[in-house]
Symmetry: C2
Subunit: 265 residues, 2 copies
DNA sequence: ACCATCTCCGTATGCCGTAAAGTGATCCTG
DNA sequence: CAGGATCACTTTACGGCATACGGAGATGGT
């Protein structure tokens, strides 16, 4: 199930998002006191790194406050001084994982190539951090790094001089295409790793069961049968398959985007 | 976080999927015995209906075996006679929610209109059953109803005489577009309902915070700022916005799909 | 030296999925 | 019709989760 972001105290989260990596002053005029009590032994960044390492390695299901605390040599409750709740932690992780995103994409080879490069980068990031796809996309986190992802795409599309009414649909379609393809690929990969059966094994086993239970499958679903049969047996690697699907879809979409006329129905 | 399907005993799940609603004989030649012990008081269908009602009303997070049992007047453990585990239950729910899908779409108004109708149907279904989007799409459930969704789309695309190398990317792009748009819309809707603040309120509050924390936002992210400013204040309804994004993306994709040449980069 | 204030931790509560074992109804066999 | 096998269902329990709460001890300002 998807984790919905942006639930906790928005001011706190936003402050963490925008201050964490900025070279701004220590704390704004919060209080003139100089803070008694013991020094903090951790940093938000250390917590984020630990949490991301866990999510990368073991998946979002295994990401628990206990696990993060354990990895840092303390308890789960110790984290709550730094982060208001697990939800906020995930929001921060999300933005943190989009750090070091390029500010702009070179347009020397034309807008198509630039969009493709942007999509490749995003695809790569999702493959490296599959848990990103389990963070809800509605009500975006609105952190600086995530914003850069959008801004860099908009820079490319702006340079391509898109008609303004195509800008919004293009952005959301591109995002959905990349996210969807990456989601399918990473989930298939994860399933293969978790169950120990490759995608190919899984499919053959499934088809065997199917032909037993629904012998009329080929008659009821002729097109699906044809489509399944047309796949070369070699490319059962879900990642490769996903990338192919993404590139193919991107091609179609870009054809439509940069077609001069924009044929009406 | 997303629920991964297809984990339990595949044979059992597939049997449940394909036999449940078929008029086939009672049980195949399992045993000539006539089964001692008490009669079963429930049916898989009743369980599915109850589970779907819960997921529709309260979301996937609130779907628990205890909740389903309670709704049916029994305990959580009583369900395990009918369904091997919660995972299988979700798989069955998924297929069940795609029942009554049209076998084919009329092509009288051309393939574009047919694809649009298919997408509209899927969009509507996702809005009615938002939890569908939280069931993993890799390693699909392979139930009869889900299969019909694919088959009906393939029927349309086949009639449109697509070049075969465009078929696969088109299918996956269409699916990802609809799923992505619906996911954004339903999540925004759910967030609004859960927090009590409308999308509009949320955005204005967020922007206020942002301009406080990052006064240079407009300089750092000029294109994003322009894009945000270009939205008419009226259409802050996330569902409407999502549908617009879907229709716009669909238009671009279909332009690319049915463009004769298929411009290369 | 005092004490307000802060970090950190131990414990507890109420969820979850489901394993295990018990309870009683139902049918087939004598 | 008695006895036992077999099944649906219940009770209880376990380990794991996020996090509320309150205590312990360190720290710095006065």
């Amino acid at each position: 199930m998807t984790l919905y972001g942006g639930q906790g105290d928005p001011a706190r989260t936003m402050a963490l998002l925008w201050r964490a990596h900025s070279p701004a002053g220590p704390d704004a005029p919060r209080a003139s006191r100089a803070a008694p009590g013991p020094k903090q032994g951790l940093t938000v960044d250390a917590i984020l790194d630990a949490a991301i390492a866990i999510a990368d390695a073991d998946g979002m299901d295994r990401l628990s406050m206990r696990a993060v605390g354990e990895r840092l040599g303390t308890s789960a409750m110790a984290l709550y001084t730094y982060v208001p709740s697990k939800r906020e932690l995930v929001d921060l992780m999300y933005d943190h994982a989009h750090a070091d995103w390029p500010q702009r994409y070179p347009l020397d080879s034309g807008p198509r190539a630039a969009v493709q490069a942007w999509a490749d980068d995003l695809w790569g990031r999702y493959l490296r951090h599959p848990w990103l796809l389990q963070v809800s996309y509605a009500r975006p986190v609105l952190g600086p790094h995530e914003q850069t992802v959008l801004e860099s795409l908009l820079g490319v599309l702006h340079a391509a001089e898109l008609p303004p009414d195509r800008l919004r649909p293009a952005v959301s379609a591109l995002l959905h295409l990349v996210r969807g393809a990456a989601q399918t690929a990473t989930e298939a990969r994860a399933a293969a790793a978790a169950t120990g059966t490759s995608d190919q094994q899984w499919w053959t086993e499934r088809s065997a069961l199917l032909s037993g239970l629904a012998p009329d499958f080929a008659q009821r679903f002729p097109r699906s049968t044809a489509l399944a049969g047309s796949s070369s047996t070699a490319d059962y690697d879900p990642v490769r398959q996903g990338k192919d699907a993404l590139d193919g879809g991107l091609r179609l979409l870009l054809d439509g985007l940069f077609a001069d006329g924009g044929a009406a129905a």
